[in-house]
């Protein structure tokens, strides 16, 4: 049986099975993240949240999905039809393929590649295309404004995010995600690199277009931003893509700063718990913070958002990178030196 998986056909089938084993839980996770968001925000705002469909409203995500599927897809007359339909697919597809390199336990990744973190950075830098294409192909002024805002925002925050990742990388000495987690055996990077951790998390909020940086959407000023013309399943794909991206950024934060699947307390009863459980606990903590931030902070003004990215985050992350590199060099702590 195992010999079959070494043949060409076998490798293809094995990869498809592995991908399904990842994508199915991911989609269920996305569905329940929308539910969790409504429940948590309800609790914060002293409401009940969804509580009608199923016990505790647990069937609500599926009711929403069915509603979306049976709605009519409207394609605006002046739009660029092919690009208009492609844009949500790009957004959702990119949010899913990035998961190929995420290790949820020691070696549990579909592809354990040497340049894992660069792959994540490359995929997240592609994410802006779904939004730009959607905004342009809709042939609508609100959608276009939203797309321009989002493009400028994502490009700006990617710069400081890149510096944060470089800071982590010089502490690890490898671009492999597995190595990055294993380098945190003794101490999580969130502790020595705490300012970087905060900057990465906030840049993550901006990168996923979440509140308080959801200017691309900005329902009070530009209606719904780049997806104002979308309806039914094409809208649902944008929605799912946003939540899948949230989970992805949380997973990246967990791997880079919170020690991935490693147990926070490195002795007996805690090390028996499987790594996946620790990974999920950390992931949920990050996701909860995402929702918490959304329920707490008002939206940024656009010029302040840009000022924060370029005048605050960029100098701090660059300075901290130089500081960390200097400390590692002086004390001889550089890995592989």
């Amino acid at each position: 049986m195992m010999a079959f998986f070494d043949t060409d056909v076998g490798i293809v089938i094995l990869t498809i099975l592995k991908s399904l084993a990842l994508i199915v839980p991911l989609l269920i996770g996305v569905a329940y993240l929308t539910y969790a968001e409504r429940k948590v925000m309800g609790a914060i705002q002293l409401r009940k949240g969804p509580n009608v469909v199923g016990p505790f409203g647990l069937a609500q995500p599926f009711a929403d999905a069915l509603k979306m599927m049976f709605k009519e897809t409207i394609i605006p007359a002046g739009s660029d039809r092919i690009l208009f339909i492609m844009a949500p697919m790009i957004t959702f597809g990119l949010a899913v393929i990035a998961w190929a390199v995420i290790p949820v336990n020691d070696g549990w990744a579909i592809a354990n590649i040497n340049v894992g973190i660069l792959y994540l950075l490359a995929i997240s830098s592609l994410g802006v295309y779904g939004i730009i294409i959607a905004g342009w192909s809709s042939n609508s002024k609100y959608a276009f404004l939203g797309a321009l805002r989002s493009a400028a925002q994502m490009v700006s925050y990617e710069v400081s995010m890149g510096f944060v990742i470089v800071t982590v990388l010089i502490c690890v000495g490898s671009l492999n995600l597995n190595d990055i987690v294993m380098a945190q055996r003794h101490i999580w990077f969130a502790i020595p690199l705490f300012p970087m951790f905060v900057i990465f998390f906030i840049s993550g909020l901006a990168e996923t277009n979440r509140a308080p940086f959801d200017l691309a959407e900005g329902e009070t000023e530009i209606v719904a931003g780049f997806f104002v013309e979308y309806s039914a399943m094409s809208f649902a794909l944008f929605f799912l893509g946003e939540y899948a991206n949230m989970i992805l950024i949380s997973a990246t934060t967990t791997i880079l700063f919170l020690g991935g699947w490693l147990s926070p307390i490195p002795f007996a009863p805690f090390t028996w718990v499987p790594g996946v459980v620790w990974f999920l606990i950390k992931l949920f903590a990050c996701l909860f913070t995402f929702i918490w931030v959304r329920a707490t902070f008002p939206r940024y003004r656009y010029d302040q958002l840009m000022a924060l990215g370029w005048k605050v985050f960029l100098p701090i992350s660059l300075g901290y990178l130089v500081l960390v590199a200097g400390v590692l060099e002086v004390f001889g702590w550089l890995p592989n030196a």
């Binding site: 060409d8 660029d80 690009l83 590649i113 040497n114 340049v115 660069l118 792959y119 950075l121 490359a122 830098s125 592609l126 802006v128 295309y129 730009i132 294409i133 342009w136 276009f144 321009l148 493009a151 490009v155 990617e158 490898s174 671009l175 010029d303 302040q304 592989n336």
Partner: protein, 211 residues
């Protein structure tokens, strides 16, 4: 076997999208085909074992340069009729440039010789068990450090040049001063008054500093 099939598919898409970049009518479509071409080039790098270059190509060209292209092209007010008129006018010139380029490439192709060390290097692109990124880094930051630093300095100079050319200190509009806002105390801006019924409070004349 599978590698060959993938290679030919990817190369075919790369060439087809390169043709579409120059032949598609809509400039936004051209940029999108350019992105597709970059992407397939990255896949070719990946197949050649240059994983670091592949990722950097996607991050830098697709993720940053092409976004700026898109930005500019989308904001252009494209007049399709004028574009089509232009094609007929400039076609002979374009054709001539194309022929000159083709002849030059042909000359290069005819007089092509492989450097003596290149064949051996091609057989083992990655030295030993060192990963691609490590190999690149240890070469770039030791042997070629001066060239590398020089490239960085040139980029810095051109960046500063671009900023100087476009920066105009326009003193219009209200500028936000965050420090000033933080230093404002309630006593500076607020005044508690007991307003009498039917009379109201009288506003003091507002000074520039109070704003």
């Amino acid at each position: 076997m599978i590698e060959n099939i993938v290679f030919y598919i990817v190369s075919a898409i790369l060439l087809a999208s390169a043709v579409m970049v120059v032949s598609s009518r809509n400039p936004v479509h051209s940029v999108l085909f350019l992105i597709l071409a970059f992407f397939n080039a990255a896949v070719l790098f990946l197949m050649a074992g240059a994983e670091f270059l592949a990722m950097v190509l996607v991050i830098v060209y697709v993720g940053a340069v092409a976004v700026l292209f898109m930005f500019v092209v989308m904001m252009l007010d494209v007049d399709f009729v004028a574009l089509r008129e232009g094609v007929q006018r400039y076609a002979p010139v374009g054709f001539a440039v194309g022929i000159i380029l083709f002849v030059e490439i042909a000359f290069v192709a005819i007089s092509w010789t492989v450097a003596p060390g290149a064949t051996a290097a091609r057989l083992s692109p990655v030295p030993g068990d060192v990963s691609n990124t490590v190999a690149l880094g240890s070469l770039l930051y030791t042997k070629y450090i001066f060239l590398f630093q020089m490239a960085g300095a040139i980029l810095l100079v051109s960046m500063i040049g671009a900023i100087v050319l476009t920066l105009r200190d326009r003193n219009r509009g209200k500028r936000q001063n965050v420090t000033m806002q933080h230093e404002r105390m309630p006593a500076d801006t607020m005044r508690m008054v007991n307003a009498k019924l039917g009379e109201g409070a009288v506003m003091p004349p507002q000074t520039e500093e109070a704003l």
